[in-house]
């Protein structure tokens, strides 16, 4: 979808922002560019929609050199979400979302339908929010509008530059989860920039760790955690690699669909609709297959049990055990 072929970007003042970058972003995946500030991640992203021009190498968009494409046309095919949000304060929320469709000259009815659909999609019911002004919304709501605006013309690619960076931790977490849901539905190609390794691990299918204009490692979150290529990557991930791995590892990856005899009692207790409160005051809460093993382990410890039922649509579909999680961790390390 997007390919960087030994791309350099040197600013006129001599700053080397990007140096010999080779990355390929696959269609339908989320690629996260992560690194400390000044590592060139934002510049790299802006090279895609030509807000910056490369000084060396080539960036291919669907196998075409982006510098051969019309910048305006290219940008209209690429959604853009930034930390500052940058909503147009003088326009209503509805008008903001309609920006690109209007530039593209869609007819009124089509635009109205699309705006309504998108606002509902990002959790801001159109009836209530369409005619509000951005200044009447909270930071989290503004960024939801920002996301809706970026999705408006059904872009092939969405670029997100620290989109949740200015939000408080709770709202950030909330928007990350919502965005993961959105992504699983639209399955578009996303390039996501952040300096927060936890956000990168949570959002990305592939993560490019950058430092001083170079890509140090480009891997899946699991591979990154299991096998950091350099000391820099290791340090950047931090000392709690094991815990981070738990967060990335989903319950469905370690669960057992066959329920072993020794854990039958837990399942029976749960299925029987019996009181799930445990003797020592903990409560047995089941997990869903999409939950992280971190959540599963935490609930095991809380309830004082060694296994938890995995529930999907109110049916028990398997069991996840502490032992299985530990074993998977040992394999990874």
């Amino acid at each position: 979808m997007i390919r960087f072929d030994s791309v350099d970007k040197t600013y006129p003042d001599g700053t080397e922002a990007v140096n010999g970058l080779d990355i390929e972003v696959e269609a339908g995946t989320t690629t996260v560019l992560v690194g400390p500030s000044g590592c060139g991640k934002t510049t790299t992203m802006k090279l895609i929609n030509r807000l910056e021009e490369p000084t060396g190498g080539t960036i291919y968009y669907d196998d075409t050199d982006v510098t051969d494409l019309d910048a305006t046309e290219l940008r209209r095919k690429i959604g853009y979400v930034i930390q500052d949000v940058g909503l147009f304060e003088h326009m209503t929320v509805g008008k903001n979302v309609a920006t690109v469709p209007e530039l593209e000259g869609w007819d009124r009815e089509h635009i109205d339908d699309r705006v309504e659909e998108l606002l509902d999609f990002v959790g801001l019911p159109a009836e209530e929010y369409r005619d509000s002004y951005p200044s009447e919304l909270s930071g989290g709501q503004q960024q939801r509008v920002g996301v809706a605006r970026a999705l408006a013309a059904d872009p092939d690619v969405i670029l997100m530059d620290e989109p949740f960076g200015a939000l408080d931790p709770i709202t950030r977490e909330e928007l990350q989860d919502e965005f993961l849901d959105i992504q699983s539905e639209i399955e578009t190609t996303i390039v996501f920039v952040t300096h927060d390794i936890n956000e990168a691990l949570k959002m990305g299918n592939r993560i490019a760790v950058m430092n001083e204009g170079e890509c140090v490692q480009y891997d899946s979150p699991t591979a990154l955690l299991n096998d950091p290529s350099t000391k820099f990557v290791k340090d950047f991930i931090g000392p709690d690699r094991t815990l981070k791995r738990l967060r990335v590892l989903r319950v469905e990856e370690v669960m057992d669909a066959e329920i072993p005899a020794e854990h039958r009692d837990i399942v029976d207790a749960f299925e029987g609709g019996e009181d799930t409160a445990m003797a020592d005051g903990g409560e047995l809460i089941p997990v869903s297959p999409g939950d992280s093993t971190q959540v599963a382990l935490s609930r095991c410890i809380q309830a004082g049990v060694e296994a938890l039922p995995v529930v999907e649509n109110a049916d028990i579909i398997g069991i996840v055990t502490e032992a299985a999680i530990r074993q998977r961790q040992a394999e990874g390390a």
Binding site: L51, T72, I82, D84, G86, H90, T92
Partner: protein, 224 residues
């Protein structure tokens, strides 16, 4: 003569010369409005050029500042050798003196648009022209309009000086009144001008508020 007597005499003078008064008032208004409209037509595009080109900006700002530093009477007097007597030279003089407040506010307004907003606009594929038309100007409008309001009020006062080069207006009564020691005549011209300035300021304030609430940018400007 007491103040009340004087006001009574002024009122009597006004009524007795009503026809003449309306002619002068209309002349005054014409000077103000025409010079104001010309100034808007010139400064708003200049402001736009200024934010796009740093070198042009220096020249434009210097020009506006110089125009403002010359005392208004001197601007008017300078027109005499250049354009002679009458309405036109007075108009050009007033126009020159009206430029700066509008120019300053146009530039300030266009520049006050936040960098993030502009980046988002560019990133979405708006051309510079579309950004100007759909983002910068609407957001700057209340600020530009505030400049127009300031310069209009100033202009009502400055237009009295048009009398010196035969431009007409309420200055005829005020300056004539001084020369002839005709206080009712002087006061009638002066009070009318003061009321005119207040009325125009009020009317423009009303439009300004309308612009702000209609575009929703009133809040944005207040926040900035």
């Amino acid at each position: 003569m007491g103040v009340l007597d004087l006001l009574g005499a002024t009122w009597a003078y006004l009524l007795a010369n009503w026809g003449n008064f309306t002619d002068l008032l209309l002349e005054h208004l014409e000077l103000v409005f025409v010079s104001e409209l010309l100034a808007i037509a010139v400064t708003v595009p200049l402001g736009i050029v200024a934010i796009w080109n740093d070198r042009a900006r220096g020249a434009i700002e210097t020009f506006g500042n110089v125009a403002q530093t010359i005392p208004p009477l001197a601007v008017i007097a300078l027109m005499l050798p250049l354009l002679g007597l009458g309405f036109l030279p007075a108009l050009v003089g007033l126009f020159t003196y009206t430029l700066l407040p509008i120019l300053t506010n146009t530039i300030a307004g266009l520049e006050s648009v936040e960098e993030g907003t502009l980046e988002a606009a560019r990133g979405m594929g708006m051309t510079e022209w579309e950004i100007l038309r759909k983002v910068r100007i609407p957001l700057a409008l209340p600020v530009i309009f505030a400049g127009i309001r300031t310069s209009t009020v100033l202009n009502v006062g400055t237009a009295y000086l048009a009398f010196f080069i035969g431009g007409g207006g309420l200055g005829v009564w005020v300056i004539g009144g001084i020369k002839l020691f005709n206080t009712p005549r002087l006061l009638a011209g002066a009070i009318a001008g003061a009321l005119l300035a207040i009325a125009l300021d009020g009317a423009l304030a009303l439009i300004e508020r309308q612009l702000g609430s209609e575009s929703g940018s009133g809040q944005a400007v207040a926040a900035a």
